[in-house]
Amino acid sequence: MSKIIGIDLGTTNSVISVMEGGEPAVISTAEGERLCPSVVAVNPKTSERMEGRVARRQAITNPDNTIFSVKRLMGRKFSDPEVQKATKVLPYKIIEADNGDAWVVMGGKEFSPPEISAMILGKLKRDAEAYLGETVTDAVITVPAYFNDSQRQATKDAGRIAGLNVRRIINEPTASALAYGLDKKKDERIAVYDLGGGTFDISILDLGDGVFEVKSTNGDTFLGGDDFDQRVIDWIVDEFRKDQGIDLRNDRMALQRLKDAGEKAKIELSTTQQTEINLPFITADANGPKHLNLTLTRSKLEQLVDDLVERTLGPCRKALEDAGLKKEDINEVILVGGQTRMPMVQRRVEEFFGKTPHKGINPDEVVSVGAAIQAGVLAGDVDDVLLLDVTPLTLGIETLGGVATPLIERNSTIPTRKSQVFSTAADNQTQVQINVVQGERPMATDNKQLGTFVLDGIPSAPRGIPQIEVTFDIDADGILHVSAKDKATGREQKITIQASSGLDENEIERMVDDAKRHADDDRRRKDEVEQRNEADTLAYQAEKMLRDLGDKVPTESRSDVEEKVSAVRKALEGQDLAEIKRRKDALSQAMQKVGEAAYQQADPGEAPEGQAQGGGDDEGTVEGEFREV
């Protein structure tokens, strides 16, 4: 069965989402945007049809044949007062069809509102198919809670015309509640406050046994974010006139720039306390060009729009009244619509209902996300059988110098499995101890020790030669299986760790916090260990090089290198990191010289392998300078 998409078919904009790997994801349009203007147009000359952003861009040149806000006409009779209101503000022709319905004229032809909506849905369907790479046949579409039967039927028809099997029509506020997972709660009353670009809706829902019932709705069909923008623009114009004596209202190009700048300033003030509106060369008079440079603070913006926010509270009161509820009866408040990003709106809503509203999901997309979740339930994508879990902390093993080397990173989705090849840290080391640790800190001792085991019987070999494959496998139940295998002999040891019994939520949070707090400290310690390991490796390599080259190394150079090796070893016994680094660098240089000299000789030959030494390096935990093979 193919995917079912969720569609928020809005008055101004529409959004599509789909369940992907158990999570809702918004699908970008072909134009690369996360929302699609609900606009359709026909070019009168070529009869070419356009939808979405492209249709929006040509609206001014082609007002008769550009249909927007068709949602205001869906399922309504021509005589409907809402339609009569719309005919006054919409530039295209609205007519009465034979059955009394409101229809529109576009490109000289008559269309029913469902046909127009179907063109938008058709574009969304195509974009979803392009994204998913498969045919989309089924959809869940949202409608306002106040839509009556004929409006819902009209929306369903639109889907059918677009070639979509509309599996369900759900209410926009219900979709928002689903997006926040409120269906999992029981017996609650939920207020959904939806302040979009051009309309305001408040809905009171009653949730019982996972079923949402709309108790009441209210709102203002002509109040939204655009009004907030206009207040900012008016303020800029007034300030500029006070300052420069020029009225920008008469300069439509300047006004166009103000529109963009006003909206941008408003958006910025949702996250900052003040913003600069800087528009050089905004206009010109006899004295030359004029620049506009103003600072708008958040508190000034709040003064400018105070009454607009206040206007939303009346409908909230009415909705509560109609539902027969008091403010205290409301258990949850949800914010929907871009304008609810404004901190003052959030504050006022919180003050009104006395509850901190849910936010976090993009308020422009939350309705569509909820529709996708409903679609996922219908498609069987969302159920409890396949709840994917993640491992909360990083899992790894202790390696040379006490470093915690991660194998499975935190937040990996389980079941998962990862292997890495390690080696020995000393010559002739015949066993390795695998110390399994959990946590985010770079040093093993700072993390939780989960378990330990020994793999022995490794054939004697110089350090770095044996290949020990360590495998971490977390099964679907969160149980960790760790195994270590010597690739030469096939010898294997393993351990099973019940990770779930280990840490509770608090412990996990503490460990993650710890890791953040100690980050600097840890990095220093890890650096130190790394420096030491490097120095140790270099000394080892130097000795090996001398052995390999044998008498090809002039006595003088040989004693120079030997001297520097012992200097490094001596430094390693101490704690002075700078000293270790200095000695290491000196040795490295001496080795380079020897190496160059050796290569200059015509036939370097094969030096006999010297007796391996230093096998007594038994520190308990000895496992790899790790190298991936």
């Binding site: 040509q58 040149t61 790479g133 190009m253 166009q256 030359g288």
Partner: protein, 195 residues
């Protein structure tokens, strides 16, 4: 008597024997039935899990392919997002140069500003960002956005008369459409603007 009794009991046994067999068979039947049911359930569950597994494997595979396919587009989109934020700066510099007072045009300081504007455009070009042609072109909503219309005799209807804000594209992607004024035939009453 005794004999008869024995015989009787033998007969009884003989009579009862088939019953016992039947009972045994019945018990076996129940066992088989229960086992069969269990098997059917297990098979159904197995089929369900296999189906879910296949679905999620397929979903992941498609997801992976999509990621690969969209990678280029995503990186293009990211560049476009950054460029879009920088464009107002290009606009302002362009305006500064356009408003260059004739009297000062030869001053080397002024020429420095002109050079800065050129440099910015070269920089944008180096990212593959090119200006969209507009003035004098037929209006194309794929790359132009109309802000105003104006009756005009000189040009055919639907011609871009003036560019208010230069548009840019990055490959096929329209970073920002050109904001333009478009001609309408002078008989038309459609001289409108967006305000």
């Amino acid at each position: 008597m005794v004999k008869k009794q024995i015989k009787m009991s033998q007969e009884d046994a003989a009579r009862q024997a088939p019953e016992n067999v039947e009972e045994d068979q019945a018990a076996e039947q129940v066992d088989i039935e229960a086992l069969g049911k269990e098997l059917a359930e297990a098979q159904a569950q197995c089929a369900e899990y296999l189906d879910k597994y296949r679905r999620s494997a397929a979903e992941f595979d498609n997801y992976r392919k999509r990621q690969l396919r969209d990678q280029e587009r995503q990186s293009q989109q990211l560049t476009a997002n950054v460029v879009r934020d920088l464009l107002p700066l290009a606009d302002d510099l362009q305006r500064a140069v356009e408003h260059l007072p004739n009297a000062n045009a030869d001053e080397s300081w002024v020429q420095g500003v002109v050079l800065i504007e050129q440099k910015l455009h070269k920089l944008l070009e180096s990212y593959g960002v090119v200006a969209i042609e507009a003035k004098g072109q037929p209006f194309d909503p794929n790359v132009h956005e109309s802000l105003f219309t104006e009756p005009n005799e000189e040009y055919p209807e639907g011609t871009v008369l003036e560019v208010y804000e230069t548009g840019y594209r990055l490959g096929d992607l329209v970073v920002r459409p050109a904001k333009v004024k478009v001609s309408v035939s002078s008989g038309s009453d459609r001289a409108t603007d967006s305000n």
